[in-house]
Symmetry: C2
């Protein structure tokens, strides 16, 4: 297997982009990515494209053309909310195989506009007409976690407070306001115990990364970031979740195990984490599933500040899905963007001191089951 490095990353600001087309968002993410390559890159060096979008398009073959890379091969990946991460994973495989030297990954989604919004509604009507909306599916896990381990709503609120604090420091975050435990607890109830501030917003945005063979990365930058671990797992639940599925995501655990094995690293080695906090409970159980604390101790983990900026394992310095936003196809790629910048020391006020090893975790959940995807990146040598 050839070693693979990320040499450039970029993204649009996340938010509501009614004034921009999907094409505009893709263009903006691409341009910021090209500009991020320290020694510059001739776009002609890019040989293939992977495109992650959940619902914003079918035919993806205009994507290379949107960014001036006419006639390049492009593959669209879709893997529920983990879409962007899987586009990144498949792009890595093509370089690891020696097929291409330099490839581009783009993730993009317009959640708030046609045709995506219609399709969301379509799905919602088909599957979720018996209370199994997204907040409902996660609320079930929250109440079970509270029942099993004594987790408190205050601890869920602390996840929201932490991520909104970080998001307020991130110029590209959808929400840039601080909140408090009290405000989070009093926010409008969506699905008990999840209030409005426990839920991520509907966000538009795009993100991109350029991946190349590690042995040619120096041509583009002296600060490349190596891709050292990749893991993906699925499971199913339908209407009958196991105890394990009620208090966490076994797919996260399995994907993390694979990624750590491939990287020859352990959770304690990780300096910075971007994880899938679609709801506060998701972040809390993911501390456990990823191995940063024991099952049931997620509430304590956030309460003790261990996931905060300055803590032992800062989680979601970008603001996470809760504050930065969650444009499905873009989310996984945006997590790569944040870790890329963190391990290169480019994250400004939200910089994690001396971060060398970063982990991204993405998750897709539907009533039928879930998918978990973990990536481990390491500052290049």
């Amino acid at each position: 297997m050839l070693e693979v490095a990320v040499i450039g990353c970029g993204m649009t600001p996340f938010g509501e982009h009614y004034g921009k087309s999907l094409r505009n968002l893709v263009e903006d993410a691409y341009l910021s990515t090209i500009r991020s390559v320290d020694k510059g890159i001739d776009p002609k060096d890019i040989q293939a494209v992977w495109y992650g979008t959940l619902a914003s398009s079918w035919a993806s073959f205009p994507i290379p053309d949107f960014v001036g890379l006419s006639q390049l091969p492009v593959s669209r990946l879709e893997n529920a909310c983990a879409t962007g991460s899987d586009a990144f994973r498949n792009a890595c495989f093509s370089v690891m195989a020696g097929i291409y030297d330099v490839v581009l990954v783009i993730g993009a989604e317009k959640m708030n506009d046609e045709p995506c919004s219609s399709l969301w509604n379509y799905q919602a009507m088909e599957n979720w007409n018996i209370g199994r909306s997204m907040p409902g599916v996660f609320a079930l896990r929250a109440t079970r976690h509270m029942h099993e381990f004594g987790t408190k709503r205050e601890q869920l609120a602390m996840v929201s407070v932490k991520n909104h604090h970080n998001g307020a420091l991130n110029p590209r975050a959808h929400f840039r306001f601080e909140t408090t435990v009290e405000k989070a607890l009093k926010s409008r109830m969506i699905a008990y115990p999840l209030g409005l501030l426990d839920c991520c917003p509907m966000t538009d945005g795009a993100a991109a990364a350029i991946i190349c063979r590690a042995d040619i990365a120096k041509k583009y930058t002296d600060a490349s970031v190596q891709v050292v671990g990749l893991g993906l797992a699925t499971d199913t639940s339908y209407g009958t979740m196991t105890d394990e599925q009620l208090v966490g995501f076994p797919t996260t655990t399995k994907a993390a195990k694979e990624a750590f094995q491939m990287a020859k690293l352990e959770p304690k080695d990780v300096d910075v984490v971007e994880l899938h906090d679609c709801f506060t409970i998701t972040e809390l159980v993911s501390y456990e599933d990823l191995g940063f604390c024991k099952k049931g101790e997620g509430g304590k983990f956030v309460e003790e500040g261990r996931a905060s900026l300055g803590g032992e394992t800062p989680v979601n310095p970008s603001g996470g899905l809760l504050a930065k936003g969650h444009p499905t196809g873009a989310t996984g790629v945006a997590q790569i963007v944040e870790v890329f910048e963190q391990v290169r020391g480019q994250s400004g006020k939200r910089q994690v001191a001396d971060a060398e090893i970063g982990l991204t975790h993405n998750l897709g959940v539907a009533p039928e089951g879930s998918v978990g995807l973990v990536t481990i990146l390491r500052r290049g040598t």
Copy 2:
């Protein structure tokens, strides 16, 4: 790059499957694939799944569970009508990279049922309300080819006659009737010069293949089939097609060039071809674009019987999309199934004598542009 081999292939009969769910089709294709492995395979050897579907699902994580491979990683690929071929391509990359030893590719589509049929209609209303339906988009190319090169409607009809002849020999084909040039010319006009018998049907079905590292293929079969070439290209046209785009598909030419280079082979080396004949004109121009004859000579190529069973380069012995059918996500994988069986001498009455090297060609077209994908397979040594 590690060498990659196909060790098993299977598919459902193609047709209208109102009585079967998408899950049933996936199960049937999987079981026939497992059973096709000469020395047997423990399903636990399969480490990951690639799933190709254009419109029949979002969340693909139940797919491994459908076939008893719970918790395996699965990635959904979508690339317009070339979806199944690109799922195969990405699966190959993961094995070439050394990430997995044995992986499964499944392509499936229910074209005639919900939710797929609604989505087709949705797309049709959005994009094709000014005559740019699929038949319309291809009819434009047919009239131009007739104008430029003197191609005749009779020659288009000969493609239909040939492929329906082959389809009648294929127990898994959607249509199993012979036709004549006269009948094809008199069939109901859809978009001039394309009559009903120039058009492929709306078909349901699934197909699958098992890919492994070539160096362990002997564990499973003494007759594995090597993947020696892969090429993918895109282009765009919007409302302004170039002369080249009007009389063919530059994406086919580019993808074929890449695949032939990787395989170190030339068009004259190919013994059997499965190509994308969504309409008769598509097959005719693809002879030219793939390099089996010169540009403009496609009509003569079919008229002289050079693409027939027994001809110099038999094309679509399965019946192709015109007779076997075109369940979008399954089509590319089903082309692999046919070539796999042909080079192993398992194709019964439609066997191409002593076929050793086979090529599959898939194409995706929308008003915005096109995607071409070529795969070259070779009987294992």
